[in-house]
Subunit: 375 residues, 2 copies
């Protein structure tokens, strides 16, 4: 039952379709933003867990402090310092995944401030902002809250360029605003080249968000938040009120797993695998769906496909599921309604051998929808 | 580092003292509401984890649905049905501990409604209500939100009697209000006698909250919420926005651990151990601290001690930590300031052999504070 609430971020018709897809035998799923389960280092994680359970401290099973494991916070701080930020372990709060880190950050944005986002962005973040009744607006507007994925964007798999970074930072500074920097896909950039977090440029106005979900596995639900130092105490209080602490079991496992070089090797292997799959999907789409445009991603888990076709995404999805293939409809990623056609195809969790067959099915579903439209 | 953020629910001086206590070697801690780590069934949990990691579904490591594991929700529903409630698996939302379940329930109470609570209650819940800027009032007031622990109260370890239950239910009905029923300590009632949840009486206005933290282990961070059916969809949306889902690893472990009779055996052993410790602590307090009153608890993890002594609880705690013993000051449990002296002593996680020595140290600290006061 490897499933997801990820590409189906609200309990509605989208969710119903996602659940239908999950139950369809033989369906090839391009939906969900899931990492490849074949990459999960099950044996290494099992050994790490064994060590964590048998270490006499009962740390893996007992309550812990709200900020989380000291060793993990040290790890996160070290990684961020290696990317150019000045941060130490005391500045890091371990969270129940990146999702909670974004929610915590949002709770600390100036009251009532609209949140500027990309025209297409992570649906889970949009749901947080909507649940909190925040107004959403373009990143370029004059506001005091911003949400971006600078290192690897979802759904496009692109990195913010220098001009975009500088424009954002100076807009935030001008309006005394705060930036939620979602680095969830950092570590999936195909070339392995690291990026400087915005946190390095403006620690006083950046909430840096990260997670082990995309690079290791999401079931642990371990992420982190580095809030501006002036807001650290409030972030910790809110974290404690929300759910006391990130789960001890996964934290203890991670502490042991992260010893040595295993994780670096793992990330390298994963990047190569995802790059290969991205290329296979791009080739297949170019050949079989020439009416859909995309920019080749530099990292992440997906292709973002756009078109001038006048097609109902929901109907296409329903037809696709009948043809045993699924994807995430573009409207889930948009904060304002748009008539223009877009879908996200995730290559990440699809077996390489299934990619071309999945695209073939999708092309058939698309053709069927177009015929019906004309007919 | 078996520690807690539990008896120290905000990042303040209380927290500083709790952290100081945790770092003091040889200190006997009556603080924190921690289960006895010696009871953790480490071997059985290890086996369950091994099974969960090696079952080919990658369920333990991948994303899951926001409502949580179907098998766990079925387990929870079955347990509640055995206690007299009409609930099925679809009505249960797995959460990141009881803390998150309370927070979710609060988010669904009528906007702006004050929350009625016992004069002494769980500090973590008070922190949620305060963080959300809710007004707190007595349970007997005319309001639309109520928070209670009917099966086993914290800190007193008592069960609501029939008259109290009926009064609460009719008050809630009269004001079209909602009751958050926190059953966190259910299963620790010494006699093993189950209780009928308020959920059984008024499913349309009760949020039932439960957890595996007190009966099994808190590090898993797995609890649940049964919201009124009309609010289930909203609860799921909010859960997803908050942190997507409860962690898959601990859920997969629990599914396997709960097969068979192990957990029932475990709870029986635990109840006996806690009853023995409660009695040992009660004897010792009666002998060494005759100026402190308490009512013997019927379950739970603690004694609630009151006195007419004019003593500063914070100073007593600081003095006690110097004497290598700690406890939770009473003000943490009260929603309104009170001049009357009270402290909570948890017997749950203290080694039986240390109980009397801990009380001896506390009696010495108390005497020292009283001398200073007179001096």
């Amino acid at each position: 039952m490897a499933t997801t609430g990820f590409g189906a971020p609200s309990v509605d018709e989208r969710d119903a379709l996602a659940r239908k897809a999950a139950k369809t035998p033989g369906l090839i799923s391009f939906a969900g933003g899931l990492p490849d389960p074949k990459l999960f280092p099950t044996r290494d994680l099992g050994r790490a867990l064994e060590g964590a359970l048998n270490d006499n401290t009962s740390e893996a099973l007992q309550y812990g402090w709200p900020e989380g494991s000291a060793a993990l916070r040290e790890y996160v701080a070290r990684e961020l310092r290696a990317r150019g930020a000045r941060v130490n372990a005391d500045g890091v709060v371990m969270t129940s995944g990146a999702q909670q880190a974004i929610a915590l950050a949002l709770a600390m944005l100036p009251r009532g401030a609209a949140v500027g986002v990309d025209p297409e962005s992570y649906p889970g973040a949009l749901e947080i902002f909507r649940a909190a009744r925040r107004v959403l607006c373009d990143l370029t507007e004059a506001t005091r809250g911003f949400y971006v994925m600078p290192s690897v964007s979802n759904p496009r798999g692109q990195r913010l360029n220098t001009a975009e970074r500088e424009a954002l930072l100076s807009r935030a500074a001008k309006h005394r605003g705060f930036i939620i920097e979602d680095d969830a896909y950092e570590g999936t950039w195909f070339s392995g080249e690291g990026s400087t977090p915005l946190l390095a440029e403006a620690p006083e106005r950046v909430f840096q968000v990260g997670t082990f979900s995309k690079t290791l596995c999401p079931g642990l639900r371990i992420g982190w938040l580095v809030p501006p130092p002036a807001l650290l105490r409030r972030a910790l209080q809110q974290k404690q009120a929300d759910d006391l602490q990130a789960n001890s079991l996964a934290q203890a496992l991670l502490v042991r797993y992260l010893e040595g070089e295993r994780f670096e090797h793992h990330k390298r292997t994963a990047r190569q695998r995802y790059r290969r799959k991205a290329r296979a999907l791009a080739r297949s789409v170019a050949a079989r769906l020439p009416e859909l445009r995309f920019r080749p991603p530099g990292g992440g888990f997906s292709l973002w496909l756009e078109s001038d076709l006048q097609l109902d995404q929901k109907r296409l999805l329903a037809t696709a599921i009948e043809a045993k293939v699924s994807f995430d409809p573009g409207y889930a990623f948009r904060f304002r309604p748009s008539g223009s056609f877009a879908i996200r195809l995730c290559y990440s969790a699809v077996a390489e051998d299934d990619i071309d067959e999945g695209v073939r099915r999708l092309a058939r579903a698309l053709a069927a929808c177009r015929r019906k439209r004309r007919g």
